[in-house]
């Protein structure tokens, strides 16, 4: 389905324009749009009793006192629930994550893990009941770091026999991956210069504004309806069906508007608990997490450490790279294998001219909060290591880091054997890079940061040191041959169209972008497209909002559906006007004959087809699965000033220029890029998750966990390069994740440029930097 060449140069009517968000007015005017905005009669309020221990078995649970509290209706424990092992991860099926989770288990594996479900008439009664449930624990030794997890003396975190898909449960290894192309060690030995370094990226919280929330009720036919703040409604339906052993036909999942996810809602966190209550009591139920619960008891980012080796010839040509990693998946293995693989598969192809490359790693269980999907999905952790070691290599060779990155990186028309070897959880697909404007991104970024004129060193106050750094990044657009999206379009007699999509707008603006694609094909304005998304009863299937897939995968599905509808409109017009098809063309909401000049409006066509002439419904479904995963590229430049007396880091300016193909809605695309970049800056400089000695997360609120505000960093410039991806809808590929990949390495490189100190553990704390400055002076 390679589009026509003329599309490339064509002016678009609707696409590549800043259409208003289709849901924007309702969102900003406070209309009831979110899950928690709706009420059902006789709804029960659900709260969870949570473990104060990082690792323990539950000896007994006594709910008798709790049940005496007026208004308390039920307390459910593991005894009341099916013992079905599953993964909360919302991924393509069968999932590449281990089945290692129960709705409630008799063992707890992190502080905050649910041990009982309380349902009451009021929130107050539920809260009181949570405190009144008595749980007796038998404490087990807790594993609180990656280092400890694989020690022979470490306790096994997942001894349960029902679990499946764990790589080596006894050694706490949830997943493992390794691949090699060529003879890496041999070539590394043979290089003029070979260096080896270790980089460590700590975890991060999603910090989306809307907490996890879901509601459930039985419809008049006793079907289970779940309204949820989820990124994966269709996966949620499938997983709930498995857990509770009820047919998919008896479950409906509805996703209303969502207040952000960033991957944090790409797993089941609340749905199973409300479902359990509704199934047990036959009553509606609601569960909304507090901020503390969102932080410590949903998912966090995989902490990863990479030992990297790189070898090059004197002139800067990179000959071999080896990356060996450990990733911390916490108590459960959701997205364990795939985030590890992505940290290699969405970074290493950047340097596709190597003679040999090796990648391996273990993902280990610990008794810390479970890690899961998070914007970037492993790629930023991998890129921190890879980009920085290229930077360090350049320094070692006495070459300019950017020059080394430029001369070794991938370009349009090229490929990498990694595309085939590393997919997500399995083999990938061969592909050539059809669109790559990396060089243009670099050139524009250099201009914007003033790269050629830059001066580094101490500022006149002889206290602050200035420096510059750059990083280049890639991502993907959906998971090839796995992520599938579908769209249905039906026509109404006023010439409007219902666009029904499984795609899940979680605040990203995808409803708007997809409406633009439909409007472009159908030659109408966007207001003629009525979007309804993510309701498993009414919209066709879509894997969900993740892997930077929606614009590319679901967008292509919308385009396919719209093209079918377009043909049906032309067909209808041909019958009514009695003109052969080749004479006809679409103009704005009309069909026009090039031969006779006859014109008929969409409204007339559909009205006649509904009521009077050759009666039928115009409508079609299209679906799409990517044969490849087109790669967006990006170049990022950072300018920092470091106060050498206090270690304070001042990010003066950060520039990111990305190639996302055609931006379907440029202002929304830039919003994604700026948002991702800001989240990357936060991770690099401010966001620091801390635990107590017993494994309790201490940074569960925004007083202690510092997400940057706009006042915390200097100038931010994001731009998009002119580009066109031939396999994308109107030339589009993705922009949702890539922004977060590069701030850490770009800032690390700038800090080195300023101070001569290489920080290899992120976030980069002023305290750590000052320590290094002072140790160097000694």
């Amino acid at each position: 389905m390679t589009p026509l060449a003329e599309e490339k140069i064509r002016e678009f009517n609707v696409v590549k324009k800043n259409t208003d968000k289709v849901d924007g007015k309702a969102l900003v005017s406070g209309k009831p749009v979110y899950t928690d905005d709706f009420d059902a009669r006789d709804e029960l309020q659900v709260k969870l009793v949570r473990s104060p221990h990082a690792h323990a078995t539950i000896k007994s649970i006594d709910a008798s006192e709790a049940l005496k509290i007026p208004g308390v209706v039920a307390v459910l424990t593991s005894d009341d629930l099916p013992r079905v092992c599953f993964t909360r991860a919302g991924q393509g099926y069968p999932e590449p994550s281990p089945y290692d989770t129960f709705v409630l288990d008799r063992r707890v594996r992190y502080v905050g893990e649910p041990v009982a479900i309380v349902a009451a008439e009021t929130e107050k009664a539920a809260t009181a009941a949570v405190k009144a449930v008595k749980v007796e624990y038998e404490l087990l030794k807790a594993v609180l770091s990656m280092d400890d997890a694989m020690k022979p003396s470490a306790p096994t975190i997942h001894p349960e026999e029902e679990a499946s898909g764990i790589f080596d449960a006894e050694r706490n290894i949830a997943a493992h991956f390794e691949m090699e192309i060529g003879e890496t060690e041999k070539i590394l030995k043979d290089c003029d210069v070979t260096i080896s370094r270790t980089y460590h990226a700590n975890t991060q919280l999603h910090a989306m504004l809307e907490p996890h929330v879901s509601r459930s009720y039985l419809d008049p036919n006793n079907r289970l309806v779940i309204v949820s703040s989820t990124q994966v409604p269709f996966h949620a339906r499938r997983i709930l069906s498995r857990i509770f052993n009820i047919p998919i036909s008896s479950i409906r999942v509805i996703k209303p508007r969502i207040g952000g996810g960033f991957g944090g809602k790409q797993a089941l966190h609340t749905e199973q608990y409300v479902a359990a209550v509704t199934l047990a009591t036959r009553r509606p139920a609601r569960l909304i997490f507090t901020r503390e619960e969102v932080s410590m008891a949903t998912n966090i980012r995989h902490e990863m450490q990479y030992e990297v080796k790189i070898g090059a010839s004197k002139d800067g040509k990179i000959r071999a790279i080896s990356m060996d990693g450990v990733s911390n998946t916490g108590a459960y293995g959701e997205h364990a294998l795939t985030t590890l693989m992505v940290s290699g598969s969405k970074t290493l192809p950047l340097y596709n001219k190597v003679e040999a490359v090796r990648f391996s790693g273990n993902v280990v269980y610990t008794n810390l909060p479970p890690a899961g999907a998070f914007r970037g999905y492993g790629a930023p952790q991998g890129l921190f290591a890879l980009d920085c070691i290229v930077d360090e290599l350049a320094t070692e060779l006495g070459l300019d880091p950017l020059t080394v990155k430029e001369m070794n990186s991938i370009r349009e028309g090229e490929s990498s054997p990694i595309f085939k070897l590393m997919g997500e959880g399995r083999e990938g697909v061969e592909q050539i890079v059809r669109s790559c404007k990396l060089q243009e991104c670099i050139d524009r970024g250099k201009e914007l940061i003033g790269w050629e004129k830059r001066s580094k060193g101490m500022l006149p106050d002889s206290r602050r040191a200035k420096g510059y750094g750059c990083a280049i990044a890639m991502q993907g657009s959906g998971i090839a041959k796995i992520d599938m999206g579908a769209a249905t379009i039906k026509m109404n007699e006023d010439g409007s169209f219902n666009l029904l999509i499984g795609a899940t707008d979680i605040g990203t603006g995808s409803d708007t972008a997809l409406a633009q694609i439909a409007a472009e094909v159908l030659h109408v304005t966007v207001d003629k497209i009525i979007v309804y998304s993510s309701d498993t009863d009414f919209t066709p299937f879509d894997t969900g909002a993740y892997a930077s897939s929606t614009t590319y995968v679901s967008g292509n599905a919308v385009k396919a559906a719209a093209e079918k509808v377009r043909m049906q409109i032309l067909q209808g017009a041909s019958e009514i006007l009695e003109e052969p098809l080749p004479n006809l063309e679409l103009t704005l909401a009309e069909v026009h004959s090039k031969e006779t000049g006859k014109t008929i409006s969409y409204s007339d066509i559909c009205t006649q087809l509904f009521y009077t002439f050759n009666q039928r419904q115009i409508g079609a479904t299209g679906s799409f699965v990517g044969e490849e995963s087109p790669i967006p590229f990006m170049a990022t430049f950072a300018e920092v000033e470091v106060d050498m007396e206090t270690g304070q880091i001042d990010l003066k300016k950060l520039v990111s220029v990305a190639d996302c193909g055609t931006p379907i809605n440029p202002v929304q695309a830039l919003g994604q890029l700026e948002g991702g970049t800001m989240q990357g800056i936060g991770w690099a400089l401010f966001e620091n998750v801390m635990y107590s000695q017993t494994g309790r997360m201490l940074t569960t609120d925004f007083f202690t966990y510092k997400v940057p505000t706009r006042m915390d960093y200097g100038e931010l410039i994001c731009e998009l390069a002119e580009s066109y991806e031939p396999t994308g809808p109107y030339g589009a590929k993705s922009i949702a994740e890539i922004g977060i990949d590069s701030p850490i390495p770009a800032i690390a490189n700038a800090l080195y440029d300023a101070t001569g100190i290489r920080l290899r553990e992120a976030p980069f704390k002023s305290e750590k930097l000052l320590f290094e400055i002072l140790s160097r002076e000694v």
């Binding site: 106050d461 206290r463 106060d643 007396e645 206090t646 270690g647 304070q648 400089l685 401010f686 620091n688 801390m690 201490l698 940074t699 609120d701 007083f703 202690t704 510092k706 940057p708 505000t709 706009r710 006042m711 915390d712 704390k765 002023s766 305290e767 000052l770 320590f771 002072l774």
Partner: protein
């Protein structure tokens, strides 16, 4: 979280409401609401002072300025007398929270909250502030340094409330206020430093580096007596550092806090035109 909200119309009524041990004054609420939400405090009565017009006054007492308990930071920032006569307080306020916080928060709330990180407290310690306290036994006055006795602890007893704070005018001093934090906006600082300087006299106070905001009295006297030329500078800075006793917490280690104070002081006092470029 259940409580009764009382909104007295007179100070007499306020006095009545406060006779309950479980009562708490609500000024801007920017500390109180946060603490109630986290469960740190659970008053059964919350007493708003928003209707007490007399607590909203800022008055010029000649050498001193009196600030009523209900005056918000934003009101202080707009006050001409403060703009002219207390640059140090304005510099501190500029760094407090965000516009929203400054629109609600009060300087007296900052004192009553008695946090070692209180930015207005630091400016007031430098301004030799006196706290005007009203209670069942009548009015009493106390210097801010003796009024705050520990983190979150003051000498207020049941039924007592702060009516106003009276600060010295310090427009004839050079002033400097520095806040070091892991981030700029809405940050509770890792360390904060305030300096007033007039010729050979200096006043120094530090925030977030001891159980309370501390004045470096010993170092101040050293400065006046010995000056800071040559090797004296290092000695002076060490005396300053001796006055602090930082702890490790989620924001920073005690080691880092000491280093920050040392580094900042070297910057301020080590600059060729002593007092530093920022001191105006």
């Amino acid at each position: 979280m259940t409580f009764k909200l009382m909104i007295p119309n007179t100070e007499g009524e306020l006095q009545q409401e406060l006779m309950d041990d479980e009562a708490r004054i609500l000024a801007g609420g920017t500390d109180l609401m946060v603490q109630m939400r986290s469960g740190k405090v659970a008053p059964t009565r919350v007493v708003s002072i928003k209707k007490l017009e007399r607590l909203k006054e800022i008055s010029d007492l000649g050498e001193r300025i009196r600030i009523g308990a209900a005056v918000t930071y934003s009101e202080l920032q707009r006050s001409h007398i403060l703009q002219e006569k207390s640059p140090i307080l304005l510099k501190a306020i500029r760094q407090i929270g965000s516009l929203q916080i400054r629109n609600r928060g009060t300087a007296v709330g900052n004192i009553a909250n008695a946090s070692p990180a209180g930015d207005a407290v630091l400016a007031m310690v430098l301004s030799e502030a006196r706290v005007e306290i009203m209670g069942p036994k009548g009015e009493r006055h106390e210097s801010i340094e003796s009024f705050i006795i520990g983190p979150g602890r003051t000498t207020l007893s049941t039924g007592e409330y702060i009516r106003a704070v009276v600060i010295e005018k310090t427009d004839d001093w050079q002033s400097l206020f520095i806040k070091v934090g892991q981030r700029n906006a809405m940050c509770i600082s890792v360390a904060s430093i305030g300096v007033l300087r007039k010729g050979k006299e200096v006043r120094l106070a530090f925030g977030s580096v001891a159980p309370v905001v501390v004045r470096a009295h010993k170092a101040e006297r050293f400065f006046t007596r010995e000056g800071i030329d040559g090797t004296k500078l290092g000695e002076f800075v060490e005396r300053c550092v001796e006055s602090i006793s930082p702890i490790d917490d989620v924001r920073a280690s005690s080691w880092y806090r000491r280093q920050v104070v040392r580094g900042e002081l070297m910057k301020i006092f080590g600059h060729p035109d002593v007092g530093g470029t920022d001191v105006t």
